[in-house]
């Protein structure tokens, strides 16, 4: 099969993009200090070997430490705290309509993966949950805003979101546009307001967190991914691998990166720690999409809870289509391994949530 010959280029493609300064890095001088090359990917042979063994010894060791960890309980507990904080962050004030719309979207449920990542990153560097809560809420507001705008009839035209009618179905398009804008603005106001923090917090750290977050969600991050994705749909030729990675790294990974990095910043993490967590987030972001593509071709609609095979029908370029199912699985294994390897330098007692989050993203069934 032709796809076999693509294996090395696949990995070098991922490697090149993840390490490329131009694709991800901020030109802000303050951020320049954070730049380190992405860890070199192992050779194709080494990967094949690692995949054969299912996991590397280090990853296995890390998993053992975390074996007693109640991941589900952790996720549910954190999600509950996040939901309470979000409820307080967007009260139903005047004018009611726009706040109702914002709350409709924001409090619709969901796993709160991004805020939990933010909190977990803060905790892993020694901060606590309350300190990370304003940034965590901000990230969820931004995620919600991007979904809300995406669902608009002139965008993806989706009438359902998380099993509930989309915002524009309930409140109309004008309110939806404004509610999204308001959530976006509010996210920055929420991080910047020192009154939202439990105790004194360093303004310099918050400024740095805002710089990171704004880069991750603007025309160098999330929006760039949305634009390139939009430009890649409906075209005749197959989207190249590097372009596919660009889309996923920006559209999905960059907000995860923002969540993790700002959590680590407010938690007082060192530059080295922030850098490792950034790479962890980039890996799990890409992993999320690779797994999504695999599930689309391997699971039934019933199992997924959404239309399976949608990507095939819609001519959307996916990893299985581009490099084959087996190579996609290998890529996923490699990304998972690499994500976990970033956590090796941290206190083993605190790595469990992020290890389990990576596993969860890799091994989810829908």
């Amino acid at each position: 099969m032709a796809c076999f010959t693509l294996v090395p280029s696949t990995l070098s493609g991922a490697c090149a993009l993840l390490s490329s300064p131009s694709s991800f890095r901020s030109p802000l001088p303050a951020m320049a200090a954070l730049r380190r090359p992405f860890l070199t990917y192992p050779s194709a042979a080494a990967i094949a070997k690692a995949v054969e063994k299912k996991s590397t010894p280090s990853a296995a060791a890390a998993t053992e430490v975390a074996v007693e960890f109640d991941f589900k309980g952790y996720m549910l507990g954190k999600a509950e705290s996040v939901n309470r904080a979000l409820d307080r962050a967007v009260p139903l004030t005047h004018p009611k309509l726009i706040h109702e719309a914002m709350r409709h979207c924001l409090l619709a449920g969901g796993k709160r993966v991004r805020p939990v990542l933010c909190i977990a990153a803060c905790e892993i560097v020694g901060g606590d949950e309350a300190l990370a809560m304003p940034p965590a809420c901000a990230v969820e507001m931004i995620h919600t805003m991007s979904l809300v705008h995406d669902d608009l009839p002139f965008m993806d035209n989706d009438g359902l979101r998380r099993g509930k009618p989309a915002c524009h179905v309930v409140y109309g398009e004008p309110v939806t546009v404004l509610a999204g804008d308001a959530l976006l603005a509010h996210s920055f106001g929420h991080i910047a307001d020192t009154a939202n923090y439990p105790s004194a917090v360093s303004p310099a750290l918050l400024v740095r967190a805002i710089a990171e977050l704004s880069r991750c969600i603007g025309s160098e991050g999330l929006v760039a991914g949305q634009v390139v994705d939009m430009e890649s749909t409906g075209i005749e030729e197959t989207v190249a691998l590097d372009r596919l990675e660009y889309i996923h790294l920006h559209k999905t990974a960059s907000l995860l990166e923002g969540a993790v990095v700002i959590g680590a910043i407010v938690g007082g993490g060192s530059d080295g720690e922030i850098d490792r967590l950034r790479r962890y987030a980039q890996c799990i972001g890409l992993l999320f999409q690779v797994v999504d593509d695999i599930l689309d071709v391997t699971k039934s609609s019933e199992e997924l809870g959404k239309t399976a095979g949608k990507d095939l029908v819609s001519d959307k370029t996916t990893y299985p289509k581009l490099i084959g199912l087996e190579k996609s699985r290998k890529l996923a294994e490699e990304l998972l391994r690499d994500a976990k390897s970033q956590l090796e330098g941290f206190d083993p007692a605190k790595t469990a949530p992020l290890i389990h989050l990576a596993n969860y993203i890799a091994y989810r069934q829908k």
């Binding site: 705008h149 608009l152 404004l178 804008d181 308001a182 710089a211």
Partner: protein
């Protein structure tokens, strides 16, 4: 429209380029200005109202303004370089760098910073950010599902050139870029706590209790709020126009190191001027007959003060707002002397510019 295309200053205005007479006491300057204009409702009243500045002390707002515009333009140009993916950057640049934008918000921000003794470099990044968030709001406001305006500043609106998807995303990208510009470019002489305060203020201004609220009340008069009711019309103006001017003046003051009383005065001043400008616009629109401000560089208001309250009341409101602004300027002038002149110029400009331009063109 004044806040739209080019800067038009009437030759009738007593704006000379003469330096200020240093002997003129600032106290007298304010008292000698026959600020109050009769509220008879006759449109000529507005015309006859004298400049806030006496002719002797006239400050050349036009020079101040135009010299500042080119600086702001070049900083905005550098802030949004064309990168990959080009289409989004081009769309952002199209709206932010549009020719003829008057940059009223950034200039008020810089003037407020200089007034309280700050270095203008402290306010420049925030001034540019104000323009970015303003542009973002305008792009979204023009979308077909919103006002559906095909033109903006006399040329096709963003979505008409780049499509609705890109227009929506360009707005979405300009908000974070604005905040990023502030944190990335504000010189280190400004304490981080002040930078945070500025970000929080701008976020509140464009958010659900500020401009977005105003847009919503304006767009959806049936949605539980009758935006044609007098009180609601004023609320729309305060939210859509007052808030941005308020934040412009306030943030300039904060960045310049103003204390609590000074920032409070700047806040009230900015709000009064922002609403004043819009009320005068409304009056001019009424005089002109046709309400066609689709070419405008600012937001369109569907709620008309004159329509809801009548011309007489609108004229009274102009006076009241001028009084409000004047009161704050008196306080600031006593404190900072001639530094207050640019802010005085804004009040004059808000009242007189459009009218004089319009009056000349009409007869």
């Amino acid at each position: 429209m004044a806040f739209s295309s080019t800067l038009i200053f009437s030759p009738h205005l007593p704006h000379s380029k003469l330096p200020l007479p240093p002997c003129l006491s600032r106290k007298f300057r304010f008292l000698s200005s026959p600020l109050h204009c009769a509220s008879s409702g006759a449109f000529t009243t507005l015309a006859s109202s004298s400049s806030l500045l006496s002719p002797m002390s006239s400050f050349d707002l036009r020079s101040y303004w135009t010299s500042m515009i080119s600086l702001i333009q070049s900083e905005l140009d550098a802030a949004i370089p064309i990168a990959h993916p080009e289409r989004i950057y081009k769309a952002m640049r199209y709206s932010v760098l549009s020719d003829g934008a008057k940059r009223a918000s950034p200039i008020m921000c810089i003037a407020a910073c200089e007034l309280v003794g700050g270095d203008r470099s402290a306010a420049f990044p925030t001034a540019c950010a104000l323009e970015m968030v303003h542009a973002a709001s305008l792009i979204h406001d023009d979308l077909p599902c919103m006002d559906g305006a095909p033109l903006r500043r006399g040329r096709p609106s963003n979505h008409a050139v780049f499509g609705v998807e890109i227009a929506l995303l360009a707005g979405d990208a300009l908000f974070p870029l604005a905040f990023r510009h502030i944190v990335g470019r504000t010189p280190s002489l400004v304490p981080p706590a002040t930078v945070l305060r500025v970000i929080a203020e701008i976020a509140r201004t464009v958010g659900s209790t500020g401009m977005a609220a105003g847009q919503m009340l304006d767009l959806l008069p049936d949605a539980g709020i009758q935006a044609r009711e007098p009180a609601d019309v004023m609320l729309v103006l305060e939210k859509k126009f007052g808030e941005l001017a308020e934040t412009s003046a306030l943030c300039g003051g904060l960045l310049g190191g103003a204390n609590a009383e000074e920032t409070a005065a700047l806040r009230r001043y900015g709000r009064a001027v922002g609403v004043l400008y819009e009320v005068v616009d409304d009056i001019l629109m009424e005089q002109r007959g046709a309400g066609s401000n689709g070419h405008s560089g600012k937001m369109k208001s569907n709620a008309s003060v004159v329509g809801a309250l009548g011309m007489d009341r609108a004229m009274e409101i102009v006076d009241e707002l001028k009084e409000k602004a004047k009161k704050e300027l008196k306080y600031l002038g006593d404190k900072f002397g001639d530094g207050v002149l640019p802010l005085c110029g804004f009040v004059d400009y808000a009242v007189e510019r459009g009218f004089v331009v319009e009056a000349v063109g009409r007869t």
